[in-house]
Symmetry: D3
Subunit: 138 residues, 6 copies
């Protein structure tokens, strides 16, 4: 996409209300990888706060919250994988299954550690999924 | 912000992975009005699919799903109102309380109807909240 | 209301089954601030038990449970604010928004501490809301 | 209890903040049958609104909501039965098990009908449980 | 049951797909004590992993997860007690109420300890319930 | 496995308490495809009851419940796919991803119909997964 068309697309996106997408299994046709990414950002921020703290109660709370947020990442990714993607997408992107499998495994791994490297890996896996997602929407 | 810096910011946002924000009440500091908007988009799409269908079972499913999605809109907005916004924001945006109150009431109204006018009102109320939100992040 | 009519009202309330109110967003017209207060009582009791214990596992459990109970307080208050209260109530009680905002923020604060002062503040904020609620029911 | 002591108790209850109780399985020691009763009131009100309506979508929503509220009644009663009541209570109130079994079955029955007779039966079963509960708190 | 008929039954069970049962309160007529047992197995395994670990974060996670799994055990048992069992079953198995009461109390106790004796007691109580359950299905 | 060892294994399984497996993402190492199958059985039974009924309220309830049970099937399958299965299993069973993808899609399809053919397809897909699962446990 040229710079000009990227600029046009971006300006359209800013004059219009933010254009975002989700799911509902009706299906309503609304999906957006942003749902998984938002929770994954939260997972990473929680790890950082955990690492910066020396308060044991705070660390317990960070662990509780990280557990929940990782689960939400997994849920949003699973929904996208099963509900949005179709056989024709798989043909075009044959690594689709592996991408989702590894990303949801990373979300599980992020429960077990406060190493932000794991959160960063999760975020980049979600970004790879998002790239495919948006490619299929064109 | 000048047009040039807006363009720069937008281009940064596209070369970087999508930059989105959420919450976790740790607090992790990650919030994003997109969470409410995604569900509200789903509410609107569900209404449209309801209106276009003559299958009673499908209409029941649409009603079940709309009920859930409206509740999620309310939840995401409530979290943003209570957890993200601070006293200094309220001073700067004195209509903040009313905006959230009306938007969450619209999400409740959207449970009771399939009139997309209500979903559109909800979406524009969320956009008004998002505008304030992003203004406070600068 | 005179003492006599208060007594009559109270005796009516005891000869009748306990008269309590809730919500369901139908709306069914049943609401009761007691739902938030019960969970807030639980938050306070959990803090007290945490403070009296020296067992680290028990303290972790207390933290997990307090996290959930605070969330329930917030939920019940949010529902009351959005679903029960109407524009005419706001005119009569112009501090309504601030009361709910501060009370739900206190419920969030109670996640972050085991200082019962915070739980007591939360309880008194809920009582202030309950007073307004019951005034509107007359 | 004499009328005088009933009045004294009632006046105490009104000068003090509303005294209510819940659970958390810590155990925090806070329980209250009001939680089940509030939801059962909502079940009854939902049935009444269902019966008064001729709007099929409203009836679907009433059915969805009643399903949820009945489940909440069951949950609150189960918690009370398992977590609050002890062997010594059972000795004093040997019909305790049957009372809870029948009440939770009534909550299940209330899912299957809009006959308010079932909701009234459920409410009176909860009142019988509440009477025993408060007797054990003396 | 003779060894031969036990073998026949077992071979039937293996040539057919695994025959399992659940609930849905429609009622759909599908129930299975395995749902409670699976979660109870998880409770026991979590205790064992907790006891074998010296990592404080892992122990926090084990505590969070055990809390959830114990709650699921309680839920599955409560559903079975209220929804599946009927008055005629109670006549045939008069200790039914006590069995469920003690088993759900054990599930609550298992939240408060990492002593596998409690998990083993819970498992054997679930097995006693399962035996009655399968006797009523004949 | 020889007939004799199968018999021995089966007899061991019956003298021991029922041996079942679940998950908890600790990971506790307890998993069992029975969790998905139980809910799928419920989906099928709900369809059958829907088809046999002419009561519109009952049909609404069946639709609500089927929606929930299908979601539970999906959840249990997703957990198994992401948490239990490892890279070495995928090598041995290269159709693993497709099996889970199709099965979770079938669970989504079962929300949209009362045709038991879809429930039967879902059940046989779960059985195929279970066969692989148990093969990996040997």
């Amino acid at each position: 996409m040229s710079i000009v068309s990227r600029l046009n697309a971006l300006l359209d996106a800013t004059t219009a209300p933010l254009s975002v997408y989700a799911h509902c299994d009706l299906p309503c046709g609304v999906y957006d990888p942003a749902q998984a990414r938002i929770e994954a950002q939260s997972v990473k921020a929680t790890m950082e706060k955990y690492n910066a703290s020396s308060d044991p109660d705070f660390k317990v709370r960070a662990t509780i919250i990280k557990e929940e947020r990782c689960e939400l990442v997994k849920h949003h990714l699973w929904v996208l994988w099963t509900d949005y993607f179709k056989v024709e997408h798989l043909k075009q992107f044959p690594n689709l299954h592996d991408l989702f499998w590894m990303a949801t495994k990373s979300a599980g791994d992020a429960k077990k550690t406060n190493d932000v490297v794991v959160a960063d890996r999760l975020l980049s896996e979600i970004d790879a999924i998002a790239e495919i997602f948006w490619a299929t929407k064109k």
